[in-house]
Structures are given as structure tokens and as C-alpha cells.
Symmetry: C2
Subunit: 369 residues, 2 copies
């Protein structure tokens, strides 16, 4: 077990009673905690304003800007957590890789990294290089006060999928070929991405993040057997490294309904569930005892209030099966989302008493659908 | 039950004993049947040659060219079926919609179709408009002889997802919003796409296709509840219309491991399984009795022969659990596939005796991995 610094928000007690932390750890929260993946970003006019003229990775590496962007949605929506504004390729950039984020495309590398030689030559991510991350986190948690900050990192497979392809792809064929064509190079690459992810998370946690989330955005492209044999061990290393700090660690994947149990076996104290799988079915598959996060369908944010509120009540009702439930979307906030809908949604979720059956409560108060 | 014309290859007995049809109908085939999704197309030099200077939709609508492209992979690889060369948006184009295929992008519409007014004004797909399809199928089956032709169409949801977005997208948010924001317009749109798909399939079947496949490429973006309530009824109409001819009908989706049973409940006499789900687990989920098609991982085509042949033997072994098994990929042939690998793979699959345990047979003959 690693020790958090005494002045860390969780160690000092500043965030330890927050609703988010209570729900993540299976205790009863003061209110139903909610935050949104991609809450910091494109849907907010104040974000678009401060980002003007600054490239994506530059804004991630400018501590006061990253802190401001992280705090913006907390200020506006009264969500129960900040999620650190960054990108999963930031630690790769900090290690010295030639990578940039092309607007409308995603991460693009100077060259695809797929040979044994290239993997052997991958640079080490130094502690010094992570200083802008620690500084941004320190600035953020100072502003957030008793609202917990969630640190985040990309899972080793998702990072490797980008590196081997050199850019985003639909099927991640290049990476999925490599894992079978050259298992040794694949293992070496994943050892490197796991190390980089673990260090990126550790920097955020030590500087003040009260929880962490590992995103396996492309895990859904894998069969359960490939995931378990060729990917899970790397994710397990990152998750164990984060869990060693004794903080809640969320493990989330997209399109991974069929991998939920395998992913939980790899690690995470909380499972994030995408919008495709009902939370009560997720709870059932996990065999109980695992706090859950999710899973309002992002499509519902644009489907009108009646549909959205009815869907949200259903998510709350199904989430009650878990020992703890943090409300979130089942994927990121779409760029064209009306931010006033998010604010109203947070208010609505907070208005549902923690000890009430959501659907009965709504019927009784004539709110909701 | 609809009757096939007397001269139809299946009705006349020309294709009724083919290995493909035997396996699709749970009988023992003369050899292990195999074909590949996207076998006709970009991976073949002879395809790239005949396509030179002709746009995608034009080549689909030029009967002798579509026939030639359909037959090319049968000639080259000795696969057990031709899959009609076309595109799922062809019937939309034939109905009069402003749609084109942009190379490297996919279907792009002149305007997104998402309002009640637009849906109400969608044109009817006439029987006359389908004549180039019937002509291409007649030319194809004449050349294929005793090798069955598989007709195909896009599932109503997948077509609607393209129409509502106006172009390809990752999450199909626009369509998934519409189904909740305006269920009546959604239902009307899916009634239209179902009708168009059913007519497109019927034209191919009546002109000589001995089997049919419905592709729900984007079904994997749906939760089981949305699929069952808002999509399955439309797919069921198309599948029932095709099954009314008494031919084998394959129902296939991508990333739909968790929807397999719901999809089978909607229809299909054979379930296509993508590479993510082992065939023996698919068989188990379906409760037995359903012939299966699949599911070699396309990534394996580029992973070297040792990995590919070992994986293929595993697929054959797992497929033995089903009452019939047609070997295929678990998704389309990647554009950069070496066609000689496909030819070798077909030969390898055909060399495994139908009554042998594939893994034991390989060990005994020292073939395979």
C-alpha cells in the first residue's frame, strides 16, 4: 500500500466524505453523485473561449489552462467531481513520442510503431516530464476544494492500438494483427504503455486526485479470449498501481458488455458501464458487490426532456441494485449537447432522495416522465 | 410461402446439393463450405482493374460489371458461394434518394433525412427500378452454375442510421436520438427502409439467389432494449419476407455478441457471428439448433500462416457444436489483404474432412499450427 501525502484532499479528509467517494466505496452518499465523461470540453462555450488559438495538447500541458477547463463544468453544472482535463496520449507526448491531436481526427503519430526495433527504442517517461501534470492537478484541487478530482489514463490496449495504427481506426486491425503475428513485440509494447499509464495516473493521484479512471475506449474490438490473454494482464498492472494508493479506481470500456467480467477480473474497485448494458444486468453479471458508474445514453441528451428524465429514472432504479452508484453517461458528452440540459439533468438527479425508489418518487412528485 | 420460379437454381436442383446450402440447412456438406464477407472487392487486383474509372454505385448498377465482380473471387479462391456485389444503399439510390459512396468515407446523402415531413415524402422503390439488379443476378447465376449466389441487403436500422446522420458516424447518435425523440417518425422511417430492403432482397432471390444475408452493420451501437423495442420488428419484416421463399437466410451483425439472441428472435434461419464471440458460446446462447456462419478474425489474415491456420482450426472445432457451420470471416476482408492468403485458407478449410475433429486431424497430418 502506498501512502498519499498528508495534505492530499482524500488523506486530509477534505474529499473523503464527498458523495462521489461515498458511492464509489459502497457507503450512502449525501446526495446521488453524478459527473459526465467529457464534461470538460467542447459542449461548453467557456471552454471554446479559453481554448481559442491553443492546440489541444498545448492546452493539456499548460497547467493553469488545464485546471481552468477541468473546473469549468463543476462550476456550471454542480457535478460531484472534476475529471482531469487531458488526453490519453499526453503521457506519450511527455515521453517524447511524435504525436499530435488533429481536430476532427484524433491522435496522429509521426510514424506507426509496430516493429520490435521501434518498441525496443521507446523512450522512458521520466518523473520530471510529468511536472506540468502535477502542477495542473495541484492548481485544480486547490480550486475544487471539497469536490473530488478524478484522474484518468488510457488503458494499455487503447494506447497501443493508436500507436500501432499511427492514427485512429475503426477495427484496430494493425494492433490486433500484431498481437498474434508477433506476441513478444506486442507484450513489450503493452508493458511500455502500461508503465506510461501507471506513471501518468500516479502523478495525478499523488498531486491530489481522489479517484482514478482507466479508459479502455477500444477494448470492445476484442474477443474475450484475446482480451484475457493479451490485454488484461497489462491493464491489471495499471489498475493495481492506482489501487495501491487506496483510492477508488473506475475501470471503463466502450462496447464491452461482453467483457465486463473479464475487465473486472483485471481490476478496478468500481466498474464503469457503457449505455448498452442495463446496470441491473451488469450487477448480475458481476455477481454483486461491485459499485457501478453509468450509464445514461448520450443519445438521450438530445431526445427531449421527457425521454431523458424517464430514461434517467430508469438508470437510477437499475443502479440501485449495486452497492454504490455514481451516475454518469454511458459514453462521452456529444460535442453538440446543449449545456443547459446537462445542468438541468444534474439538478434533477440531485433532487431524487438517496433513499427513495426513483420511479415511485417521480410518480408521487409528478416530476420526471 | 412464396414460390421460386421453376428455373431458379435452387428450385431446379442446380444449387440445392451445394455444400453451402447443406450446411445452412443442417445437412452434412460434401466439403466444409467457406466464403468471405467482402470477398468481391478491394483486395483483388482483377477487381481494381475492372473498377478503374467507374464509380462504386455505377459499378453496382452496371449488370455485366456487377456480375463479373461477383464471380471473380469464386473463380480465384474456389469459395463455396458468390456474394452479390452491391452496396446496402443501392436500393435507396434506386428509389431516387440523393446518395453516393465517397471513396474512403462511405455513403453520403445530399441531405440528412430526419423530419416527419422528409420521411413522409420518401419515394417508393418501384419494381421497374430494380431491373438492373435482377439482370445482374441473372448474369451472375448463369456464370456461377452450381455455386450458389447469396443475395444481401442492409438491415433497416443500419440504413436508417445512415439516412438520419446523412453520412457514416461512429455512434449513430442522430438515429438513436430520433428513435426516442420522435418514435412515430422513427417507426415510419424504419417501415420505409424495411420495405426497401425486403424488395431489394426479393429481386435478388427471384432472379436466382439461393440464399440471402441481412447485414446489421451498426446494430452493435444499440442496447438490447432499444434493439428489441425499436429495431427488431423492422428487421423481422425483412427476414420473414426473405424466409417466405424457403431459402436459407443469414442474419448478421457487427459487435452484437450481446444482441445475438434478440437478433435471432427477430429472424434468420442461420446466425452470422462476428469474430468477437466464439461459435461454441454463440451456440450455447442460442440454445442449440441454429446453423452458424463465421467467424475467423480478419486480423488473423495478416498475422502469418501459423497463427491463421491454428485460429482457423479452432473456429472449425468450435463451429462443430452447431447443427451446420459455414466458415466465414467474423467481419469483412480488409482492403490490404493478400489474396493468396485467402486462396490458401480456402484450400486448407476444404482439406479438413467434414467428419474429422479439426484439431486432432491437424495434429495427425502435421498440418496447421
Amino acid at each position: 500500500m502506498l501512502h498519499l501525502p498528508a495534505q492530499h484532499p482524500l488523506a486530509s479528509g477534505l474529499t473523503s466524505e464527498a458523495s462521489l467517494i461515498s458511492a464509489y466505496t459502497g457507503k450512502t452518499p449525501a446526495r446521488r453523485p453524478v459527473w459526465f465523461m467529457r464534461q470538460a470540453g467542447r459542449s461548453l462555450p467557456e471552454y471554446r473561449e479559453v481554448r481559442q488559438g491553443t492546440a489541444m495538447l498545448d492546452s493539456c500541458l499548460t497547467p493553469d489552462l488545464a485546471a481552468e477547463i477541468t473546473v469549468q463544468p463543476v462550476r456550471r453544472h454542480d457535478v460531484d467531481a472534476g475529471i482531469f482535463f487531458s488526453d490519453i496520449v499526453v503521457p506519450l507526448k511527455l515521453a517524447g513520442l511524435d504525436v499530435d491531436i488533429e481536430p476532427g481526427v484524433g491522435p496522429v503519430f509521426g510514424e506507426a510503431i509496430s516493429t520490435a526495433e521501434q518498441v525496443a527504442e521507446l523512450p522512458e517517461l521520466t518523473d520530471a516530464a510529468l511536472e506540468p501534470i502535477r502542477e495542473a492537478v495541484r492548481l485544480t484541487v486547490h480550486q475544487l476544494g471539497s469536490t473530488p478530482l478524478i484522474g484518468f489514463a488510457g488503458a494499455p490496449f487503447t494506447l497501443a492500438a493508436y500507436m500501432v495504427q499511427g492514427r485512429p481506426s475503426r477495427d484496430h486491425l494493425a494492433a490486433r494483427r500484431l498481437m498474434h503475428a508477433d506476441p513478444d513485440t506486442w507484450a513489450a509494447l503493452c508493458a511500455w504503455t502500461a508503465n506510461v499509464s501507471a506513471k501518468f495516473l500516479a502523478a495525478q493521484i499523488e498531486a491530489g486526485a481522489s479517484a482514478a479512471q482507466l479508459f479502455d475506449s477500444w477494448g470492445g474490438s476484442l474477443s474475450a479470449r484475446d482480451y484475457e490473454a493479451l490485454v488484461a494482464p497489462s491493464s491489471a498492472k495499471v489498475l493495481a498501481a492506482a489501487q495501491a494508493y487506496g483510492i477508488p479506481v473506475v475501470h471503463f470500456g466502450v462496447g464491452t458488455s461482453d467483457l465486463l467480467v473479464s475487465m473486472h477480473n483485471a481490476g478496478g474497485t468500481v466498474m464503469g458501464v457503457d449505455y448498452r448494458l442495463d446496470l441491473d444486468r451488469a450487477e448480475e453479471r458481476l455477481g454483486g458487490g461491485v459499485p457501478l458508474q453509468g450509464n445514461i445514453d448520450p443519445a438521450m441528451l438530445g431526445a427531449g426532456w421527457d425521454a431523458l428524465s424517464a430514461h434517467t429514472l430508469d438508470v437510477l432504479a437499475r443502479g440501485a441494485a449495486a452497492p454504490g452508484h455514481v451516475v454518469n453517461l454511458g459514453h462521452g458528452v456529444p460535442a453538440d449537447t446543449d449545456p443547459t440540459v446537462l445542468t438541468r439533468l444534474v439538478e434533477f438527479i440531485h433532487s431524487v432522495p438517496v433513499d427513495a425508489d426513483p420511479v415511485q418518487w417521480a410518480a408521487a412528485t409528478k416530476l420526471g416522465a
